[in-house]
Symmetry: C2
């Protein structure tokens, strides 16, 4: 099924205790698109880059089934650029540079062929831009997933709440769920967020896994403990792309299937962190994913017999 994703397509310069990668490709839509492309080849990408973005990377995305008609390429301008340095524990990072460049005046324009996409992933951007995408859809998508962050809660809570009202699945981390809802208990936070519109809530907890809430049901997905996390950049976007890619492939948004989608998303994210940029994702084979999914099953499985 068709999947539309909007977000940044960008350059990153990343320092981790394992090394440094300069001007590698990144951005929420790129990570999510590549992850989703392991499940479906009917992907519509909406974003903006400058004329400095490498054609070879665009060719790679297209070869993976990512339609780039919705990618604006601004002549004479530069792509969004982010530079950051991770601390030894990889859980904290300092932003060194944020150059908005083409992103400063980004106005998403959906090609006609995008406007009936069944699955929509609104990557982390200003709530106004996310809303502009929803407004251009000529048919209500089967599922709209929104990813956002504390920054928009701090500076644009009203606009953010207006978008949240229109979506089906919200993906945020635990601190953001607490900030958005004003509730410390995640169970109560989920109830409060359901009142705002969404029917599903995914709380991403990094190395502690993820929680999926729907009505009064909860699913706890573990994260795979890894000997080495090489670079966590893009893990959340990769999770979202894998999650929605799996749902688009199976075209089934039941709670049971969404649990599986959380595991598929977590598996994709566990690959993402094994290398800089999309390095690990590029060589990823079907058998690698299958093996990783088995690791997740083994990790979480127990039998209680009474």
């Amino acid at each position: 099924m068709s999947l539309l994703t909007i977000g940044t397509v960008a350059f990153d310069t990343i320092e981790t205790p394992y090394g440094k990668a300069e001007m590698v490709v990144g951005g929420a839509a790129l990570y999510a698109g590549i992850a989703a492309s392991h499940f479906t080849n009917d992907i519509h990408l909406v974003s903006v880059v400058g004329d400095d973005f490498p054609q070879v990377e665009l060719d790679y995305m297209q070869a993976r089934g990512i339609d780039l008609e919705g990618l604006q390429i601004k002549e004479g301008e530069k792509s969004f650029f982010w530079a950051g340095r991770y601390h030894d524990n990889m859980n904290q990072r300092d932003t060194l540079v944020t150059d908005l460049n083409v992103l400063a005046n980004f106005d998403p324009v959906l090609p006609e062929s995008y406007k009936k996409s069944k699955y929509v992933l609104l990557g982390n951007l200003t709530p106004e831009i996310q809303m502009r995408v929803i407004q251009q859809m000529t048919k209500r998508p089967k599922l709209i997933v929104l990813d956002t962050m504390n920054f928009w809660m701090d500076v644009a809570m009203d606009s953010l709440k207006a978008v949240i009202k229109e979506i089906d699945v919200l993906t945020i981390n635990d601190e953001e769920a607490r900030q958005l809802s004003g509730e410390y208990s995640l169970v109560k936070a989920a109830r409060a967020i359901f009142e705002m519109g969404p029917k599903f809530l995914v709380i991403k907890k990094g190395e502690h896994g993820a929680l999926l809430f729907h009505k009064d049901k909860i699913f706890a997905a573990p994260a795979l403990p890894l000997a080495e996390v090489f670079d966590p950049t893009g893990a959340g976007d990769t999770f979202a792309g894998g999650f929605l890619g799996y749902l688009a492939k199976t075209d089934n948004i039941s709670f049971e299937n969404m649990k599986r989608a959380v595991i598929y998303g977590s598996a994709m994210a566990s690959f993402c962190v094994e290398d800089f940029s999309i390095g690990r994702m590029k060589g990823l084979k079907k058998t690698d994913l299958k093996k990783r999914l088995k690791d997740f099953v083994r990790l979480a499985k127990f039998d209680i017999e009474d």
Copy 2:
């Protein structure tokens, strides 16, 4: 099977956002003993109290199958006392008072009938006292579980490592695993800790669940998300008591059974936090536990079909 537990039996005064409980019973051995008593009634407790400790609470423990021959009652002295206040988020607490009282000169003496206990739980105490218990065993227990904390790593690392060398299962939290091993990755931390002696490592992560490591195997147990955590005091000890109580009952220390034990321990801990002291544990019925275990199964279960 016989289970020996050593640790504090004490008074606590606790303030949480939900209220205040003054001079309620607590302590690692009390919490662990009560939790274990839901699985076996062959429990040997080693601890010390003053003559201020209520006889009615001792009677309750004995009625639950907890042998108190190893509990020293010091005439004219006072029991160990701890007072603490939890912050709004319940994850942080301030210690207001620590009165060692009888604990200051505690020298554990094992009655003859205790010295062949098959399952031993060394609750959080000075490593020297924990070692004194091991030395008095006339037969190597089938399984020795040790609980400790960062404080002993700061002030008595050598003595702690000497005890760790003698045990089978170490239970600590994630930060403590990192401190003990010098490794940030928990996978690497587990490998380093196995080099020190233990064959199993349980990493307690509170609201994020627990990880069980054994050789190159890992099991991730979720924590049950609760609408309200009333008082977290004793949750770790209750976990350890439920964990070892289940192992003693089933007398099976395979990795598969230990996974179940982690879930049983987590279930007991989830009850513990629902009231002050052992309030919730006192009224706990078999059917309550059965229902809670089903909640854990539902929480963690997913089916990946290829």
